[in-house]
């Protein structure tokens, strides 16, 4: 493309807890369904292909890039999700930092300008690594040029923990809502935020419909 105004891309990452507890109660299936719905939404909204790239990172005892940053509309097969193991926030933050850095450099090399990346971080349990360890990784992640993080606590994850992870907004599922339903609602937030950000040409995070989540005041 030889557009005189250089296009600006918003990198978006969905970072999802895939520890053992995600196996129960259809939780991982709910994540899978949400990714399918997200791909549909990107497919139906060409402006998203133009403005955003989406990647998926899963973590348990270790972290994995399940779907490298891409135009989701072009993805035929979505990754398999196989939950199991511990909940290492530190591993997630470290991999995310490396991934964000590499992706941003690649987009810049391809001639794009890059918006500050946006991360949707979902966890259903407390971290199993030591707080000083993950907190140090977190600090490195969100330092200069780090991503904006929207955090969601579902299941056994504690509000205060996710509040320490979030940099912009933090939502906590109400205890009377099944975790898989809460995950479906998070998928909805991600979809609407991805579309809204692409339409406005900036970073727009849309909160969940009332009922299933409470938003924490981060200040």
């Amino acid at each position: 493309m030889t557009s005189p105004g250089r296009a600006t891309i918003l990198p978006i990452y969905v970072v999802c807890d895939l520890s053992g507890s995600m196996r129960v109660d259809g939780r991982a299936d709910a994540v899978r369904d949400a990714l399918v719905a997200l791909r549909d939404a990107v497919w139906l909204n060409p402006v998203v292909s133009d403005q955003a790239r989406i990647g998926v990172v899963g973590f348990a005892g270790t972290a994995t890039v399940l779907l490298p940053l891409c135009d989701l509309a072009t993805v035929g097969e979505l990754p398999d999700l196989e939950p199991g193991g511990l909940t290492s926030y530190g591993a997630a933050f470290r991999l995310l930092r490396e991934t964000v850095r590499a992706d941003t450099a690649r987009l810049a090399a391809d001639g794009y300008r890059v918006f500050r990346p946006l991360v949707f971080f979902v966890s259903d349990g407390e971290p199993t690594d030591r707080r000083p360890d993950w907190a140090a990784e977190h600090a490195r992640l969100v330092g200069r040029d780090g991503p904006e993080i929207v955090a969601f606590a579902v299941g056994e994850a504690r509000a205060a923990t996710l509040a320490a992870v979030a940099t912009s907004r933090c939502f906590v599922a109400r205890t009377d809502v099944a975790v898989r339903d809460a995950i479906a609602r998070i998928g909805d937030v991600v979809i609407r935020s991805v579309v809204a950000s692409s339409v406005t040409g900036g970073q727009t995070v849309v909160g969940p419909a009332p009922g299933a989540f409470d938003e924490l005041d981060l200040l």
Binding site: P4, P46, V47, S49, D50, D71, A73, R192, T200, G207
Partner: protein
Amino acid sequence: MTPFAVDAAALRQGPVLGRGGQGEVVEVLGVDLPGWPATEHLVAKWYLPAVAPDPAALTRLVSWRRSLDDRGRAAVDEVACWPRAVLLRDGRAAGVLLPRVPAEYTFTPRSPSGGRVTVLRELQHLIAGPALLARRGIPDTDPATRVRVLAGLASAVAFLHERDVVLGDLSVKNVLWSPVRGVYLLDCDALRLTGTNPPVRQPNSPGWDDPAFPGTQNQQSDRYKLALTVLRVLARDFHTRNPESAAGALGRELLPILRAGLHHDPAARPAARAWRDLLHRREQPTPQPKEVTDVPKPTVNALRGNRDG
């Protein structure tokens, strides 16, 4: 006389049709009020609690439409999803009753997950270039269709401007178009009449902002956004603000008016009326039979385009 405000209890509501940044849109199966005209297909838009619409501003929009004569009202209804009534829940203004988007402004592709979905034909589908469309199995438009749609948009904006309406936000999702009918403006519950405030805070779209009015919206910023829309549709580029990028699409004749329309000095910008007249002159007669109105089924291959294309 039909009331300006309708209580939620009087609505028979169907399924949720969509969720947006401001709320939820639900199909209305019927309005149980004596004398309510039963002919129109309606939807209810319920705002999120955080939105808190200004009831007086909503009522103003409803009564503005009703104050038009029959021809004027028909003309507005043809191009705009204009509020029919304010919706009350527990005595508070919580939503608006809107007409349902006419079927000509929708299409029903098969999504990658296999289901048929009804999708609004949005401005984004007109701006998106051939590669983005082909990947989705959406047929491309020809330049004549794009000019015709733009002429329809300019004429809708001109009509509303002449009647004191400020659109405020033009975005790739709130202008619908049809290859056979024209344009249809969504989110009319967020616009305002000159000299008054809008019912809800209007979103600020950095990619579409007017450098002359960063914080406010008025008919002059509407003119800028109209010019930007013409440019982006012709250039098929979601980002450009450079008039030269449309030169290839329509020849250099349009450059002076595009430059004027995008001028930082609001006084330099041509009125929507000028755009309407110019684009109508450039319109070619509608090619009747060849027009593509339906969308073929995308194949799985359409999903496997080149990565990061």
